[in-house]
Assembly symmetry: C2
Homo-oligomer: 415 residues x 2
């Protein structure tokens, strides 16, 4: 790997920040990636922990291979709620019994949105926003169409999030559900989860949150904030692996009144009774439909064990410092090449990633990948820098952005 | 492990059958399970192959851990259809481009049943049967309720399957979809897939098949039999591991007219365009909703590689011989204790498992598990013997049933 020349004062700053980083030692828990100078896409796919490969292999040999079907009675049946409770405890600020792992985020969004709409009979509006992630918007559209509802699309500042004031202006007693992302997948802007939820409740609506880009990087307090429903993914900041199962949170007070549409044997009160009629399980288990993805739930457990050695306040603090460092580098070294910031400047309004924009973003990302610097491209012109706090150092960010600076210098013919 | 005394002539017969078994060598490809005398539940959860543990670990280290997000462009995006096509080729008798892997069987049943109902507007009846697996019945009920349809429940012989004649008597032009299992999860009876599908088509209805208990053990010819839609699981005879993702088959002729209800970014024509409106992907990809379960799809690939070294005719032949052997043992050695056969006697009407019944089945299965003999209990009185052809020997079946005979002898106080 070639030596990366990081310009001053960023090199010294990065070294100092890494030295002062209380979480720096945890970085050794992740598998190093040969040939990768800077992994700046932890918010698309988290890196595996060192223990994950061997722990998964040992599971296959010793549990699946040896206990075989008996393992369903020896722990697998409870895995969706056991892992769910650990996510709740370490990342969501939620008490046990409200979180379950399974399906994909899209499928869980569909299930919870349908359940929410049906829990508000007589109301015929869903509120959503045009900058939300495609699956969120597509599921909102699909559920509205099939249930004969209308969608009120909010159009927030593309670099911000829906504000409580914007939401209040759209709310009335026709609204059944408000569906929003906590952290915007593109800009990284944080919505005011507590205040938005309160505003929805004021007109009797439910709030359904997509937590994909906040789980494991932004502090959450779902119980204190009176959140109704939420979904999120485990393959970003929870390092669950590509396509790892998602999670759903349903507040305890709503569990017995909600009924999700995909009724399967594993969400039934007694899965092995195999009776004639579906009777939903009490509590959060009724969110489950089919057989839980046992192998898929293993890697996230390793990250939850690591998270349990620290806390979300410390993670968030490092995350804010990482994004601030990236923004300072962009301002001081990249702006002259036409790179602009498309994320909020205020740290408290920004999640774990930074969106930079440049007309040549698509080509730049392709060149960066070739060189072992891995951010993400988001159309039309976004270069997204996702900084997973536990696996990323300040020097790594500095080296990655120094390579970007070198490419921009070459492209623009000056330095 | 104690020596198991297998009574004659079953011991000699088992040894001779194993010696003549052309597939016997493949048994070494599976991980041996310490302490297990006989694994008779391959139709609940197949055993892992020897290569699977290390191959999964290598994937985590070398692909996820090293290629990171780049791997989505280097193969992961296509994995659902690549693995689907291999299932189609090696197990379904179907051409490429019609099978996709993802979700759970329950979720895929929901998606395809909803799509099928909507493809037959103006029709208001679903036909299903009361002996189908709980998820099938629950999903049929749920879809009927939400779409305002009526279910015509057929009540076949509990030891058999719905016959084409029974079905024809229930069919008329109000019927949108017929939803049935190919092999019954309890009795193991095989439905006449081709003839039932033909009967459905004769009134303009679609046929949706649950192939969970036939995939990888019974020969299928989905294309030749003009099947419309099917789902199945990969953790039984395809050895995909606990909770491995399911698969869906949609005949090419129907793909562009069907629209499934859970519209997500990964089923969109261009997932990374992230445009304002969902445009379904052409072909089978539109069945996908969320991010494909990459890690969950790995183990099944190992079994498909093994299946590619033989063919379903040979697998089915061994399967029939295994179930015939188990039935002969039950008839000659266990019937005197009140054990009865609840599966078809005719080999061509029987899938890969055999259902025995005894009033004490629940207690017997618990005792067998303690001794390392692992069949399954199915209420109220079923002792199910699932014989995965590639991983099961005749002597293993003989030893397992000999232990059952010993328990029955002790319980009944005679021999």
């Amino acid at each position: 790997m070639a030596e990366i020349d990081v310009p001053e004062p960023f090199h010294s700053r990065a070294v100092a920040l890494d030295r002062a980083d209380r979480l720096a030692a945890l970085r050794d828990e992740f598998l190093p990636a040969e040939g990768v100078i800077a992994y700046l896409d932890g918010n698309s796919l988290g890196r595996p922990l060192r223990v994950t490969a061997e722990r998964t292999a040992a599971f296959i040999r010793e549990v699946w291979g040896t206990r075989l079907i008996r393992a369903w009675e020896e722990g697998w049946m409870d895995l969706p709620t056991v892992v769910g409770d650990r996510i709740a405890r370490h990342a969501l600020g939620a008490a046990a019994g409200q979180t379950v792992v399974g399906d994909s985020t899209t499928v869980l969004l569909y299930k919870l949105l349908r359940a929410a709409v049906e829990a508000r009979p007589g109301r015929d509006v869903i509120i959503a926003d045009t900058h939300n992630f495609p699956s969120d918007r597509f599921v909102v559209d699909a559920v509205a169409r099939e249930c004969g509802l209308e969608v009120r699309w909010l159009e927030p500042d593309p670099r911000g999030a829906v504000t409580p004031a914007e939401l209040r202006a759209a709310l009335d007693e026709r609204v059944a559900v408000v569906e929003l992302s906590h952290v915007a997948y593109r800009s990284g802007a944080i919505a005011d989860l507590a205040e938005v939820t309160r505003a929805a409740h004021a007109v009797g609506a439910l709030a359904l949150w997509d937590l994909c880009h906040s789980t494991g990087v932004v502090e959450l307090a779902l119980d204190d904030d009176a959140v109704d429903l939420a979904v999120g993914c485990t393959y970003k900041y929870l390092n669950g692996g590509p396509g790892a199962p998602a999670f759903a949170y349903v507040a305890a007070r709503l569990q017995d009144v909600l009924r999700q549409p995909i009724e399967g044997w594993m969400g039934a009160a007694d899965p092995f009774a195999m009776g004639p009629v579906y009777e939903p399980a009490p509590g959060i288990r009724r969110v489950i439909s089919g057989t839980p993805p046992v192998v898929g739930m293993l890697p996230v457990s390793d990250m939850l064990a690591l998270l349990s050695t620290t806390d979300m306040r410390a993670v968030r603090e490092k995350s804010s410092a990482l994004t601030a460092f990236a923004i300072a580098f962009a301002d001081e070294r990249l702006a002259r090449f036409g790179v602009t910031l498309a994320s909020p400047r205020e740290p408290e309004r920004r999640g774990g990633h930074v969106m930079l924009e440049h007309p040549a973003a698509a080509a730049l990302v392709a060149e960066l990948w070739e060189l072992g610097v891995i951010p993400d491209f988001r159309p039309p012109d976004g270069l997204r820098i996702g900084l997973s706090p536990l696996s990323t150092s300040f020097l790594e960010v500095a080296e990655g952005l120094a390579v970007l600076e070198r490419l921009l210098t070459r492209r623009h013919g000056h330095n």
